[in-house]
């Protein structure tokens, strides 16, 4: 702390660098910076010297060479003749896919378990406590293994679906659960399907507009419109009408057994399912605790004051408790989303081709470009994590309380 009491002007002495509060912190910062720069210089020169001695150089040319390996699940065009860069893109998109899916399902699991853990029902409360304690206290790596093993060992092979009297049959004639993954019907977009999709998107916007209008009407005239049924109607009716007017342009492509495997529909590979499900239930258990903490952080007095004013419990939750709980829930939620993204690198264990498995695995091994690959890998995770963190911080600032 600096005293501003008009002290006698002392002349500067070197000992003041350590004893005077005005200079002390600057002194230590200079020392820390010097140490850091020395460490970076030492490691850098060490790397350069060793690369020289081994006759190596840093080059990113390998990214343009053919990768020479196959990838089982890709969302973008890829063959073994594609470049290493293309393989890296496949990995990046696969990482983003599983992280995105797992973030959504983990949030759903977490919110449900967190709210139910505060339930008045003894059985539900204890079940949720059991879920949280079991899943967050066993490493996620083991969960991935368990689920993958169950899928590959206990599910029937595609061949079990063959013959006149097959050992297994497809659920509802359209879903096939096999040890290679799950096969589900995929949409086939005919002419005019764009209009149906556009109608649906417009309906979703329409629902928000309706709810906004209903709130505004309540504020302006005091009339409260029903919310649930009109919302459902706005959401579904125009899309269904448009679907039939245009002659059912969207059809379904059902998976069917051809040769040794299922063809058609959408295939979700066993590795993706194992990874997705394991990350979701594992991180969901952590999110459940955040949600519970957030709700409990809002003091009982808030609920009581709202109740004393005549608000019912649903409204109290929406108008009073949740807006306050969210600001407690959001920051740890950010770090859980970051954890999902980083933990998705465990994909390599079950052969899911994420960025760590492609660029950081096979490409690295085949080209020997360890430093380049690892640097790129680190950069990727850093960019993604900082991106998630930034978006969530913007949201967090928007829900923050004003104190001064």
């Amino acid at each position: 702390m600096t005293t501003i009491s008009d002290p006698p002007q002392e002349s500067f002495r070197p000992s003041m660098l350590l004893s005077d509060t005005r200079y002390r912190s600057i002194t230590f910062q200079v020392i820390a910076l010097a140490l850091l720069l020395t460490a970076i210089w030492y490691l850098g020169s060490n790397l350069a010297a060793n690369l020289r001695a081994a006759g190596l150089n840093i080059s990113f040319q390998f990214l343009g060479n053919p990768a020479g390996y196959d990838i089982n699940q890709t969302l973008i065009p890829y063959t073994s003749q594609s470049t290493n860069l293309q393989a890296a893109w496949v990995g990046i998109i696969n990482t983003l896919l599983v992280s995105f899916l797992a973030c959504i399902t983990a949030t759903i699991f977490g919110v449900i378990a967190g709210v139910l853990r505060l339930s008045n029902n003894w059985l539900v409360r204890k079940l949720m406590a059991g879920y949280v304690e079991i899943f967050r206290n066993i490493p996620v790596l083991i969960w991935i293994l368990i689920i993958y093993t169950i899928m590959t060992a206990a599910m029937p092979a595609p061949s079990a679906f063959r013959g006149d009297d097959p050992a297994s049959s497809m659920m509802l004639g359209s879903f096939a659960f096999t040890n290679r993954g799950v096969y589900i019907p995929g949409p086939v977009m005919g002419p005019g399907s764009f209009i149906v999709v556009a109608t649906f998107v417009a309906s979703v916007i329409g629902v928000f507009a309706y709810r906004r209008y209903a709130t505004k009407l309540l504020y302006d005239t005091g009339r409260l419109l029903p919310m649930l049924w009109p919302s459902v109607a706005i959401l579904l009716v125009p899309t269904i009408v448009m679907f039939f007017i245009l002659g059912m342009p969207i059809g379904l492509d059902y998976p069917a057994l051809k040769g040794f495997n299922f063809q058609g529909g959408i295939q979700i590979g066993a590795p993706l399912i194992a990874l997705w499900f394991a990350l979701s239930i594992y991180t969901g258990a952590f999110i459940a605790e955040n949600v519970r903490a957030g709700i409990q952080a809002v003091s009982r007095g808030q609920t009581e004051a709202a109740a004393a004013l005549g608000l019912r419990s649903g409204r109290i939750m929406n108008l009073v408790v949740l807006p306050q709980a969210l600001r407690v829930i959001i920051p740890p939620l950010i770090s859980n989303y970051l954890n999902i993204t980083k933990n998705s690198s465990l994909a390599i264990l079950v052969g899911y081709a994420d960025i760590t498995a492609t660029l950081g695995g096979i490409t690295l091994n085949q080209t020997g470009r360890a430093i380049e690959c690892v640097v790129l890998l680190m950069l990727f995770y850093l960019v993604i994590s900082l991106g998630i963190s930034m978006v969530m911080n913007v949201y967090n600032n928007a829900t923050k309380l004003k104190e001064r």
Partner: protein
């Protein structure tokens, strides 16, 4: 003052509590409470901590459940039916020791939330009402600030205004000045005195004996979940009957 106060009390019964009992598990917190409050009456409830006085007034608007006996507010018998509870809560306003303002809403929004969502008052009208009551508690200029930006005394006055916005016929105060600095106690008490002068039916759990002398037309002393003694303030303070009351008064008035 005491005489004008007497004149405002009507014969109409606002609250009638009959043989009410409440337990927390095995702990018998309220024992055979019998209390009739007439419209316009101002009652101060005092007693040592743990005597059940807060619990008693919290039972009146169903923040706590009672297990035996009956509570009747404005002719409505309190039951566990939601509609019934809604009706009683819309008649009864309450102020808490720790204010319990909603920190994520502005002062004005705090005051309009319940009128809009419960009374279905148009926002503009609700805001006019809110400003009217904020002027009454003398803080209209703070309307667009957040509770965290106000002093404790100001927050409690907002809490009173927030309750009044629902146009209650009965007000409950649960130690409204216990969490305040001495200089802020006065501004809150002044607001409460003004409210009393307008003829509001009030039940106050408080240790402000000056307030009790000036405003109350009945003082109730509770101990161990029972109403030990009740009387007009003059008689209560000058001539307490039970030894327990005498001891309590000597302790709180002694310093």
């Amino acid at each position: 003052m005491a005489e004008t106060a007497q004149m405002q009390v009507s014969d109409e019964v606002a609250i009638r509590i009959n043989n009410m009992n409440k337990w927390y598990g095995a702990f018998h917190v309220l024992r055979d409470i019998n209390l009739t409050v007439h419209r316009g009456e101002r009652i101060v409830i005092c007693g040592p901590s743990g005597s059940g006085k807060s619990t008693l007034i919290r039972c009146i608007n169903a923040l706590e459940e009672h297990q035996k006996g009956s509570i009747e507010v404005d002719g409505t018998l309190l039951s566990s039916d939601l509609k019934n509870i809604d009706k009683i809560r819309s008649e009864v306003g309450m102020c808490f020791q720790h204010f319990n303002l909603f920190p994520h809403l502005t002062i004005l929004e705090n005051c309009t939330l319940a009128p809009i969502w419960v009374r279905k008052t148009p926002k503009k009208e609700a805001e006019e009402t809110a400003m009217h009551f904020l002027e009454k508690v003398k803080i209209p200029d703070q309307a667009n600030k957040y509770p965290g930006q106000l002093s404790g005394g100001q927050q409690q006055r907002v809490a009173i205004a927030r309750s009044l916005c629902m146009r209650p016929r009965i007000m409950l105060f649960d130690e409204p000045t216990s969490a305040l600095d001495p200089e802020m106690i006065k501004e809150v008490l002044d607001t409460m005195i003004e409210l009393a002068e307008e003829g509001m039916t009030m039940l106050c759990v408080t240790h402000e004996m000056g307030f009790a002398r000036q405003v109350a037309n009945r003082v109730i002393f509770m101990d161990e979940g029972q109403i030990v003694e009740q009387n007009e303030p003059e008689a209560f303070f000058n001539n307490p009957q039970s030894p327990r009351t005498q001891l309590f008064l000597s302790q709180i008035l002694g310093h």
